[in-house]
């Protein structure tokens, strides 16, 4: 697929961001997105499908999002497409959680 991910050879992407003593995950949500993806890889959808899902991200969104945001996009797309969870359930649960937090 000719998606935004095919950036090999593109110019003007700037300096390479280097971080000394970088942690494996920069926040808990990153770790959770990785682990939830990993846990569902083998059992519910193959890795190839996961990669394809992240390549379906609209180009503008793809190019402006961080790495694990793209994973989250793929994870959410796959679990909803495979009817493991519905988009409504996610929205409702978010609303519920934000109320209990405040």
């Amino acid at each position: 697929m000719n998606g935004p991910h095919d950036i090999g050879g593109m110019h003007n992407m700037g300096a390479i961001p280097m971080e000394e003593n970088e942690p494996v995950f920069h926040s808990e949500w990153e770790a959770k997105v990785f682990a939830m993806s990993f846990a569902t890889f083998a059992n519910y959808f193959p890795v190839d499908e996961t990669r394809h899902a992240s390549e379906l991200m609209p180009p503008g969104q793809y190019l402006s999002s961080r790495y694990y945001e793209r994973w989250l996009y793929a994870l959410e797309l796959l679990i909803t497409e495979h009817n493991l969870v519905t988009p409504t359930e996610i929205e409702e649960r978010m609303a519920q959680l934000s109320q209990t937090q405040t």
Binding site: G8, N12, I16, V24, S27, W29, A39, L84
Partner: protein, 236 residues
């Protein structure tokens, strides 16, 4: 602005016949016109998905903790360093490693998820190898752990294949003109590991002491392995 962004997105997506730099301009415009969603929103979304998946019995919370713990504490470049040092001290192993990396790595019990099919490329006085994944972030997880942010960055992915020498300079690595630079683009089915050159003055070192010299970046090709007590400092 929304319409403009949409039309720019379609320009990039459709591989329009416009000159490449126009598409780049479009990409940059898009990049500067979007903002990251606030961290709190992402955290909430991730929590919502996690709680739903657990509630439905699709994932086990203990499994999530185990996965995170494994990649934070157990799986990392020290695995790759074992492969490299074994190849340095055991010429037969090195030969097997270069001929069929997957089998040689299996001998050491280091085969694992995302590293099933491996190719090892050897640095020599004539050739310097560099590994990238232009399409995303393919990387031998079982051997090096999860990739650093720079490996996953748009800058590294786009530039490594078109201007590897300038990329290497950013890492503090100057490769002489007469040395060939080979860039290997990883994919989901095949992943690479660089076998760096063994540094001078290490003839009497044990495998364990040698392994401590082998860095992650040296096994990706953005650094060389330095002799012990070297005062040269390289970028992260």
């Amino acid at each position: 602005m929304v319409e403009l962004v949409l039309s720019l997105e379609s320009l990039i997506l459709q591989r329009s016949p416009l000159p490449f730099h126009y598409r780049l301009l479009a990409a940059q415009t898009i990049m500067s016109s979007h903002n990251h969603p606030p961290a709190a929103d992402i955290t909430l979304r991730v929590k919502a998905i996690e709680s739903l998946l657990i509630e439905k019995g699709i994932i086990d919370p203990a499994a999530l903790d185990a996965i995170i713990d494994a990649y934070e504490h157990r799986i990392g470049p020290h695995n790759g360093a074992r492969i490299v040092t074994k190849a340095w001290v055991d010429p037969d192993f090195k030969q097997r490693l270069l001929a069929d990396a997957s089998s040689a790595i299996a001998e050491l019990g280091l085969t694992g998820f995302s590293s099933e099919h491996m190719v090892v490329v050897e640095n020599t006085p004539e050739v310097h190898n560099l590994i990238v994944c232009t399409l995303c972030s393919c990387y031998p997880w079982a051997i090096l752990g999860l990739p650093p942010t720079w490996y996953k960055s748009f800058a590294y992915r786009s530039r490594a294949v078109i201007e590897p020498r300038s990329v290497l300079q950013e890492f503090g690595l100057e490769i002489l003109e007469q040395i060939e630079v080979r860039v290997w683009d990883s994919n989901a089915d095949l992943r690479y590991l660089v076998l760096p050159e063994r540094p001078q003055g290490t003839a009497n070192m044990t495998e364990e002491a040698l392994a401590a010299l082998v860095t992650r970046n040296a096994m990706i090709g953005t650094a060389k392995v330095l002799p012990p007590n070297s005062s040269i400092e390289l970028a992260a």
